[in-house]
């Protein structure tokens, strides 16, 4: 899951070096946190969350194939 999110995120942002992804998993639930540069937040979330939701849809399908559930949070840098 991590590779998928990393690949998509790095291809969409202006600053791929600031993309980091963490993946945690417990009881069949995968949680992915995606960190990007502040300037790239808009590119990853998209208008009305369209980009992030499309990414979630792909993650959901990938996770379902392994019988798992997945959530994605896009985290703004502090």
């Amino acid at each position: 899951m991590k590779e998928l999110v990393e690949f998509v995120a790095r291809s969409l942002v202006d600053d791929p070096e600031q993309v980091t992804v963490t993946e945690t998993s417990s009881q069949g639930k995968i949680h992915v946190e995606l960190h990007v540069a502040r300037e790239d937040m808009g590119r990853i979330i998209g208008k009305g969350g369209r980009v992030a939701n499309a990414l979630r849809a792909l993650m959901r399908v990938a996770a379902a194939r392994e019988g798992k559930q997945v959530t994605l949070d896009v985290v703004e840098p502090r």
Binding site: E3, L4, F7, V8, S11, L12, R50, V51, N53, A54, L55, A57, L58, V61, A62, A64, R65, E66
Partner: protein, 257 residues
């Protein structure tokens, strides 16, 4: 080898050359400039005529090697009223979209979709092509995905295939430096779905007319609603309209009488 040529229209010869070079992503000494029409400024914009030039790419340059067939592209400039800043803008805009050859564009599209699928754990064949009839930069990139049991890639109400299509077109667009339109099909689904939707549209239109009542279809994504609207556009007995909010937006077919 055929030579790459580019015809450019701009308010002045200089601007036309600059624009053409930006479009090809080349420097002045990599091309030969042929002035086809000097153009005239006219008086207060009256009777002005744009300059027209042709750029011949000298053999052995990168762009020539990359794009074998002759590319004769007409680049229309805005009216010469605000000539100087407009030309500068055109030059920077053009720089973002160098003349990219088809094979490169299709290669990027194919590799992008294939890698997304791989990272999703999906094994599939991916093939990108341009529809034969289409021309120019507005062409749809058509990406076909083939494999075993891929129906899960379509998803409920085409959600997954449309998400894949959206993400992939953004990624390819970012790579190419310009917006692209990319359509993904999984095992002929789009064509089957289009046929089914056209049929549904006609049937529901008949029902609307015979019953005299509006028919509300189930929610559909934008590209599918479009197929319904287009199918019934020339039908004088009904009008169609989309109502509701995404993702529950749906088409209503109303009898005209």
């Amino acid at each position: 080898m055929e030579q790459t040529t580019l015809e450019v229209l701009a308010p002045t010869v200089e601007e036309a050359v600059a624009k053409g070079l930006a479009e090809l992503n080349l420097t002045q000494d990599e091309v030969e400039v042929e002035v086809l029409d000097q153009g005239t400024r006219g008086l207060f914009g009256l009777g002005s005529r744009q300059a027209r030039i042709r750029l011949l790419v000298k053999t052995g340059t990168a762009a020539n090697a990359a794009s074998e067939p002759v590319k004769a592209v007409e680049v229309e400039a805005e009216a010469p009223a605000a000539a100087v800043p407009a030309a500068a803008e055109a030059a920077t805009a053009a720089k973002k979209s160098p003349l990219q050859d088809d094979e490169f564009i299709l290669g990027v599209a194919q590799a992008t979709v294939k890698e997304i699928l791989e990272k999703m754990g999906v094994r599939a064949e991916v093939k990108a092509s341009f529809p034969e009839s289409a021309q120019g930069d507005e062409r749809n990139i058509w990406v076909e995905v083939q494999g075993k049991d891929l129906s899960f890639l379509i998803g409920r109400r085409s959600e997954t295939i449309n998400s894949l299509q959206y993400i992939a077109s953004l990624m390819v667009g970012k790579e190419l430096g310009r917006w692209v339109s990319l359509q993904i099909d999984v095992e002929g689904y789009r064509q089957r779905r289009e046929r089914a939707l056209r049929q549904l549209a006609r049937r529901m239109a008949e029902q609307a007319v015979s019953s005299g009542r509006r028919q509300v279809l189930e929610p559909m994504p934008a590209n599918e609603r479009r197929i319904i609207h287009l199918e019934l556009r020339d039908n004088p007995n009904v009008v169609t309209e989309s109502t509701g909010e995404e993702p529950a937006r749906k088409v209503t077919i109303k009898p005209t009488k």
